[in-house]
């Protein structure tokens, strides 16, 4: 796939996911673990999508659109970060590694709050469409008034698709810097990924809003740790 095709794919998938999240269906295609994995798959780097999506899913587990409140845009964070990571991996020719996922997450995690601001900004277009619909319905142009509901989605698609495509381009532009990073820093970034994952999982435990969340989370962590210890002992026994 050429660079231009990949850029187009990033734009379309980023835009579609933003629409699915807010305007149509809401069947959770736009959740980070799904949207990022699909973005990775489309750009030929599934592993980046899977592991970036997993961490962002946990980090944003508790975010919800309640009433008129607008939550952080976990979808833009997931699609944008994965697009950048895939572009970085493609441009450098290096395999997808935890250091690469960590730097992509750290560089683009702000897309969540930025997406919320963009969402808020785009409300003015939706307000304008709704007002147009009311005016047209008042003049008896009913079918045309109803079509405004669909027109209101386009700015969303274009803006979020555009930001995702820019993230892909950013990944391509910074790629020449990647091979020049000092090895200790790359090693540090590789260490940062599980640290980021642990914090994201802690946010997930908190975001679950379970009444005894620390108990459930801690008990499950203890079971996994003990199972791993028993398994490694069993494997090391001759």
């Amino acid at each position: 796939m050429t660079l231009a095709t990949q850029l187009g794919v990033a734009f379309v998938w980023g835009g579609l996911m933003a629409l699915e999240r807010k305007a149509f269906l809401q069947a959770m295609f736009s959740r980070p673990v799904v949207a990022a994995t699909m973005m990775g798959l489309l750009l030929g780097d599934t592993l980046s999508g899977l592991y970036i999506g997993m961490v962002l899913e946990l980090f944003h587990l508790g975010s919800a659109s309640l009433g008129a409140a607008i939550p952080e845009h976990e979808t833009l964070a997931a699609t944008g970060t994965t697009a950048a990571a895939a572009a970085l991996s493609r441009s450098t020719g290096s395999p997808s590694t935890s250091a690469l996922w960590a730097i992509s997450i750290l560089a683009l995690l702000w897309l969540g709050p930025a997406g919320r601001k963009l969402d808020r900004y785009l409300e003015r277009f939706a307000s304008r469409s709704a007002q147009k619909a009311i005016d047209r319905a008042g003049r008896g142009e009913l079918s045309s008034a109803m079509r405004q509901n669909l027109w209101a989605m386009w700015p969303h698609f274009l803006c979020f698709g555009g930001v995702t495509a820019l993230c892909f381009l950013a990944g391509t532009w910074v790629a020449p810097l990647w091979p020049g990073l000092p090895l200790p820093l790359v090693r540090g970034l590789a260490w940062a990924y599980p640290a980021i994952g642990s914090v994201a999982a802690a946010m997930g435990v908190r975001g679950s809003r379970a009444r005894q969340a620390p108990f459930y989370g801690g008990a499950a962590a203890a079971v996994v740790a003990l199972s791993a210890a028993v398994f490694s002992l069993w494997k090391s026994t001759p």
């Binding site: 673990v33 405004q148 209101a152 090693r187 599980p194």
Partner: protein, 282 residues
């Protein structure tokens, strides 16, 4: 397949009682999936609701003046949970059919919407947004490593589609519940109108939500331990226990500090900085 015939089968009873064809009801249901397309701070889902019920109103009110008046009723403020909103969309058709036949005054449908949109929004938010989605999301995230390891072992090489097992499972688990309930609620609104509240009460969604939230917390906790151990052993080399233990400690500490009003972002960047410094210097 003829869409009219396909659509008529599951909603036969409603077709005869409302005077609307199965195809019209399917169109309304499909259009209700766009309930939030033009969400705005003033009318919120007003245009979305009007858009959804428009095909049914066209059938119920052949007179353009009456159609215009009916549509104006649904361009007023409206906001509820988008899934549970299907029950209100169904209920609106139930009442509009009666209004069109002259059995009810037009104000009934306004009162119906005003009375139900708030409580149903709270019910939908509590069950879908705050319980089902976090639970299925956390389970899917926790299954990512298992699918990854399993598919590599089975195939012996990198097969992208097999690795997408966890996200696919997420979509399947979530949407079996989501789409079934959405369709069921639409039918409930069509059939029962105001009576849908009693029926919804019997579903006992809040109790089910509490169990799902516990599943979410456990899955996230288990995954935290796995991430620390797996990546600790893989990336840490001779310092593997330091990295694994450090990551587990960072998870526990960050849970504690976030409870004390520190943002998740601050905790994450601080943890990453510590890990980078440790990884680069040790």
């Amino acid at each position: 397949m003829n869409p009219t015939a396909a659509g008529a089968a599951p909603i036969q009873g409603e077709v005869s009682s409302l005077g609307l064809s199965g195809w019209t009801l399917w169109r309304v249901f499909f259009r209700s999936l766009f309930l939030q397309a033009s969400w705005n701070p003033q009318g919120m889902q007003n245009l979305g609701l009007a858009y959804a019920v428009f095909p049914a109103l066209q059938k119920l009110y052949p007179d353009p003046q009456k159609l215009s008046e009916a549509l104006a009723r649904h361009l007023a403020f409206f906001n509820t949970h988008p899934y549970v909103g299907a029950a209100i969309v169904g209920g609106v058709l139930h009442h509009e059919a009666k209004i069109a036949r002259g059995e009810e005054p037009p104000a009934t449908v306004d009162n119906f919407k005003a009375a139900l949109m708030g409580p149903l929004a709270a019910l939908g938010d509590g069950f879908f947004w705050l319980s089902l989605r976090p639970a299925v999301g956390a389970v899917a995230a926790a299954l990512v490593p298992l699918f990854h390891a399993g598919s590599t072992r089975v195939s012996g090489r990198w097969v992208p589609w097999l690795h997408a097992g966890a996200p696919l499972l997420f979509l399947l688990l979530y949407n079996v519940v989501h789409l079934t309930l959405r369709a069921k609620l639409f039918r409930l609104g069509l059939r029962r109108g105001d009576g849908l509240v009693e029926e919804l009460g019997r579903q006992n969604l809040p109790a089910r939500g509490a169990r799902l939230r516990a599943v979410a917390a456990a899955s996230a906790g288990g995954l935290a331990a796995w991430l620390a151990l797996e990546f600790g052993l893989h990336e840490g080399g001779r310092l593997a226990p330091v990295l694994a233990g450090g990551c587990l400690a960072l998870g526990v500490v960050s849970y504690g500090v976030v409870r004390r009003q520190v943002t998740g972002y601050a905790a994450l960047y601080l943890a990453a900085l510590l890990a980078i410094v440790a990884g680069a210097s040790l």
